[in-house]
Symmetry: D2
Subunit: 448 residues, 4 copies
């Protein structure tokens, strides 16, 4: 059976991920993501009203015109988890394909919300839930399986397409976490089985984000322990404490909520995306937040909440807000600018349970945000975080488990692939033979 | 009563700490340290055979000639903990003073060993043990108290000289740890009492090492959780695993020993200073190591141990060795050079539970050491560590607890004092009024 | 005669410089600057309409309320050169003092323009021109002298107040340039004389910006040679070339204009501040630009010029524009956004004859600007620049020339003073004795 | 005609360059270099006594065993210039091939000296001089041509193998300098001709060292202007001035010698490699040093010279010495350690006309060296240098001139190739089609 892999997007950048695997006449698409930074650099761009081709020209969504080179039918569009760089282009591209979107329940829910915000296209693909551990048939001879992985968002999976030629494992994005805070550990057992059963693994497409970093990515439980240390250290403080983290990072939000209670404060989630992700997680029963946990997204209800906090006493609350990267319109930045009813006083604490994404734009914005907060007397606790991406040792362990015949480095540009290539070369792989260095828009023929 | 403070050493560098406080006719000396980097830059220097004046000229030990400006008698020499930059000059300078060395039991033991290695001077000062929480009289009207603090070595204290004019608190070195792994938490309760009782705190001398870093220094329990995550992740590995850390860091060594057992390996401590510090801690009952824990310092017994390990199987052992900074003659560096019987194989793990001290010499040596280890196939896990020094928020909390009248930034040069001065200025202190910027060799008159 | 120095602004930051020297009953004020970054961090602030006290609270202009502590009359307000951090607060503060503004002709002209833009206050102080080498009497026994120095703007001087107790030399800002491109070399001869004549130098107030950088600041002629190399290397290019630099940097603009001609292109200056500074320099005969050199500041005339260039051929022109720091509203940034009629093509060259001022906000903006330019195909040449501030060796040479009794480090915060203090300590000065570490709002009494 | 390219060494590192081109039955080898850092990391290795296979195992010299895969006869071994990473393995590998070493006269002379130092092998290949602009026949249908380029050593060329299928241009190493200080500018005219004549350029092998750096590498004349600025600024100093630079950098040494004279000092070259390179350049008439210029390499004559300098007065001399990277045994490091008769005094100047090669080992050694020099009172001037390798714009211009069909990035590892690939992709090249990403030991078939 012919096996081809089209590396459509996310092979020259982080963002706009999209990969298609053709096995015989059947095609499965993995991810359809958005590169938000290509949008934000322009002023006043409203992506929800834009046409696909313009977004492709901007480098914001994958250029899927290469799909015409694959002879077969798309059977499924499979976003691996709910981050925007994996689902953000579904509203712009999915309607071109007569195939359902298949994902885990949490991811499906986020896709649904994404589609509701779209104004330009009418995406009517079927949205089909499938949980980690489950499978579905793809054509007559292939099978799609979801393997549970741990990442900085819940319900993430690595999809595996089982073909007669062996398995194609799509490895974006994950950390190897044996003690995550919410959910189960990564299912390494299953990866090891896949590596040994049947024809083994034909191809492994891997997330190279942290491939150049030594050692292993710490478990979420390490970040949790660190966060606990910080929060208990301010237990006796009788003024304002504010925390921020990635809205979609449900485990971290859970820890913040829990520790708030531990130090005698009422947590409250503020900001549109805070409400969106945590609300969704709660509705779908992924987490069991306290009954009295407030979540407010609309400007008015946020401001009303802030007024209540100011009235009842800042020392009673822990607002958990958006703005960890200093985004100009996020809640924390607005608090820094004094645009909300919440007044910061000298000595108030601001906890960034996040790391600045290392890019000058972010660094500049975050710096501005911290400056504004400090001008109002705030004290900053930062870098209470662990990454969601494998480092060197995780990569070694995945190679050891899967023993793939072919490797396709992904989720970076060539410079980012380089350390992964070094690592794989040390394991006996070779560029041009079984390591495939590719760019956006290429098709790699694995089995003729 | 006249109160003067002589800032003798460690006010233009980290290393060679020495400060004297005169209260009326009585003087107490805090610390007599060695700046090892000023020694190591020269080839073939044997400090144990050198005269004080030569070491002073080298900038290696404090220039205590300023002591002649203080009119009074030295009543005690008080090293705060057992690190070399606090005790390393006792063998060169203490004999000039007719006063006992007063320190906690662990520190006293390390001083004793230091004196035994000295060849040039015959130091016969009385070595007097005093534990945290205890006090001794200094002259007729003053009292010396030890307050328990947490640092990267056990049995560290902050000495407090109670005078009729208020307390002089010598704050070198500490982290504010409420959940250290060995020992009790820092005694903040006592600091708060001292800040409020009697005349309050006249002067606080503070360790500025991390004063420019945001947030709080994480607890040792965070490093321990991180270390546990790393060690359990290699539980199934059936080859060699080697760990290194600061020899004097008994809490960390304890965690390494414990986790080695958890993953089914026999820990063994190797290297002269590993044997020295851990042996001392065990003899004095600070820790309760497993009965079968081997500690070997002499080259021959180390090599014999390595041979036994190679014979019985590397997968049965966890050697815990010296060399975390890539020091050219340390055990791990020798292992990298292939100079020991322990043979590293492809995939073997080396765990650095330490951070590179950020200075080009260390960085160069550590880089070389890692290159050598990697050439032999080793995989590196690094930065599993937390600092032993207060960051911003710890400093705020100390100022809040002690409410000192005067501040003397220490344990840095002027550039290192700058962030502390900014921080204290924000709390109402002012340079030239109550913040005393000083250099080595100055005398500050606090009460005339 | 009593001599006091009030360090009013610019002693905790770079920006809002202001220092007053009282000699007996007479006071001279050096600089009244604006810290623009404290303004720009807020949205929509229009400084020209704001009250002084609000700007003081923002940290934007010097808090001159300390002037009430000086018993004497202000005889002159002396801005040393035309940069905003030295003249930008004159419009807000000068009217409080019954004294003329005394400066070199180019600086006076820039002050005049600054005052014309002010809406809130009516500043009617006399504007008095005095050239380098000239003097004026201050009261009965003092004399003010201007010594010519070299900086990144023309007509910069260091003012010297000669008093019966010795000279007070105000050393902000300068580079020691023996081969500047426009103007004469720095007048080191005169500094050496001042150091040796009469009572010598009582006090030297020094610009510490680059005090921590090794070696010497290169001459403007080095930047010119570098720029020439770049420009001749693109001589054969037949598309668009655009250059940007500091608008106030007349020497650099002159070199750009000259090299444009050398490679057969017509230079044209575009952007409000480009027109302002170069127009002023030409009107006052500091430079002799080609007769056909266009300068356009208003949006409409700029756009008209761009249209003409597009019509006649980009290969015929070298637009020299604002925007070297990626300022969001500057000309080059607008070009990057495609908001001007000038269309960049693949391969067009953009020459940054400037260095990014190392602060995350600038770095973020400049990065965004370069990204936008590159999206349009532009190629970037950057860092063709030399600093306008003394490095280590310049400081040694100034100390050697002046041999001052007292030193006051300035134009930085404490951290920035630290390397200068180290340097001066090595020359025998001592903190607290003759090195005065000061903050905003202090008064230092030198002679009682 | 079949054309194959074997990328033997220098495709995973900088160092041990070696590439072979087979055109039909004839093979030409370009470079045989040594990776010195792989040697120096081991203690006490004497390469001159070592066997090739051991050096190959160490990664120090190219693993030329892949040559057996090329079916043809080696007709020439062509080192492009005299740097060790291009000629350092000739003594270990050339004797395996029955072919002459063909190089420019200066390079041949350095190869000869290299061979004389070899103890293990007896290399008797013919050493054949050929100058830039000249050609020789390779087999019946090919021709080898040398094109003059500018680099940080004189007499560098880019060899071109003209084949019936087009030219193979070997582009290591060069800067595009139109105003070098010694020698002629780079022969861009000839490159443009080669790009347009006959079959054009089949393949271009390119040095990617600086491919990720914006703009263009400045001309040597820029470094010279910078150096002149520094040296004239110390013209009046009446103590010791010492300079260091790359010994093989004849242009820079020439400038140092000339400026020494300009400021009234007698230059003298000290250190083994200083004597070697400059002596060779002078003997072969590449430079015309003053008759009285002393060059001393042997320890005894160096010390004698230092003694003479100390006796006659340091202010009369400019010693130009080895040690710009802080190499532990180089002359300047020995001066810092006080191991030579030359005594440094407070205020003496040390001029580093070199940049630290950015690698932690060098940075550590250089830092130590500067610390030692400063302890003796020296003042440091550093970074007076320009690179010898093309940056982005040079690469664009080379592609424009040659218009090659195939590209092989070289002189870096994959991470270093990445920016060059980006650049070439922007020009229409594509990985896997005409950009060949390769590693050591590969053979690329260009024409079958």
């Amino acid at each position: 059976m012919e096996i081809e892999i089209a590396t459509i997007g996310g092979y020259e950048e982080v963002g706009r991920q999209m990969t298609a695997v053709r096995a015989g006449d059947d095609i499965v698409i993995f991810d359809m993501g958005l590169n938000l930074s290509q949008v934000l650099i322009h002023d006043n761009v409203e992506t929800e009203k834009m046409h696909s081709l313009d977004l492709i020209d901007m480098g914001a969504i994958p250029d899927d015109r290469v799909m015409s080179e694959l002879e077969g039918d798309v059977q499924a569009i499979v976003p691996t988890h709910g981050h925007l760089d994996h689902i953000g282009a579904i509203s712009k591209l999915a309607h071109r394909y007569d195939a359902p979107v298949v994902a885990t329940p949490f991811t499906i829910e986020l896709v649904k919300q994404q589609l509701q915000g779209e104004s330009k296209f009418n995406v009517e693909n079927d949205l089909q839930k499938m949980s980690a551990g489950e499978t579905m048939s793809i054509g007559e001879r292939c099978e799609l399986e979801f393997v549970h992985v741990t990442h900085s968002i819940i319900d993430a999976i690595n999809p595996v397409l089982h073909t007669p030629e062996g398995a194609v494992v799509y490895g974006l994005d994950k950390r190897m976490d044996h003690s995550p805070v919410v959910e189960d550990p990564i299912d390494m057992e299953r990866f090891r089985e896949i590596g040994r059963e049947g024809e083994g693994v034909l191809c492994y497409i891997e997330d190279c984000t942290n491939a150049g970093r030594k050692g292993r990515t710490p478990s979420e439980s390490v970040a949790r322990r660190h966060l606990k240390d910080v929060m208990t250290s301010v237990e006796d403080y009788d003024g304002g404490i504010v925390a921020t983290t990635f809205s979609s990072h449900i485990s971290r939000v859970t820890s913040l909520v829990e520790f708030a209670k531990d130090i005698g404060r009422q947590p409250v989630l503020l900001g549109r995306s805070m409400e969106k992700y945590s609300g969704t997680a709660e509705r779908l029963n992924y987490v069991d937040f306290p009954d009295d946990l407030g979540m407010y997204g609309h400007r008015k209800s946020v401001d009303r909440t802030f007024k209540r906090i100011m009235k009842e006493g800042k020392e009673k609350y822990l607002p958990i807000v958006t703005g960890h990267q200093g985004e100009p319109r996020a809640m924390l930045t607005r608090m820094g600018r004094g645009e909300t009813p919440y007044e910061l006083d000298d000595g108030d604490k601001v906890i960034f349970s996040a790391r600045v994404i290392p890019e000058p734009t972010n660094e500049g914005q975050r710096y501005q945000s911290e400056r504004l907060l400090k001008m109002q007397g705030a004290r900053i606790y930062d870098d209470i975080h662990v990454s969601g991406h494998l480092r060197e040792e995780g990569h070694y362990q995945m190679l050891d488990a899967l023993q793939p015949k072919h490797l396709i480095p992904a989720h970076q540009d060539l410079k980012g692939f380089a350390p992964y290539v070094n690592l794989a070369s040390g394991m006996g792989y070779e560029v041009g033979r079984d390591i495939h260095l590719t760019q956006n828009g290429n098709v790699i023929q694995l089995v003729e």
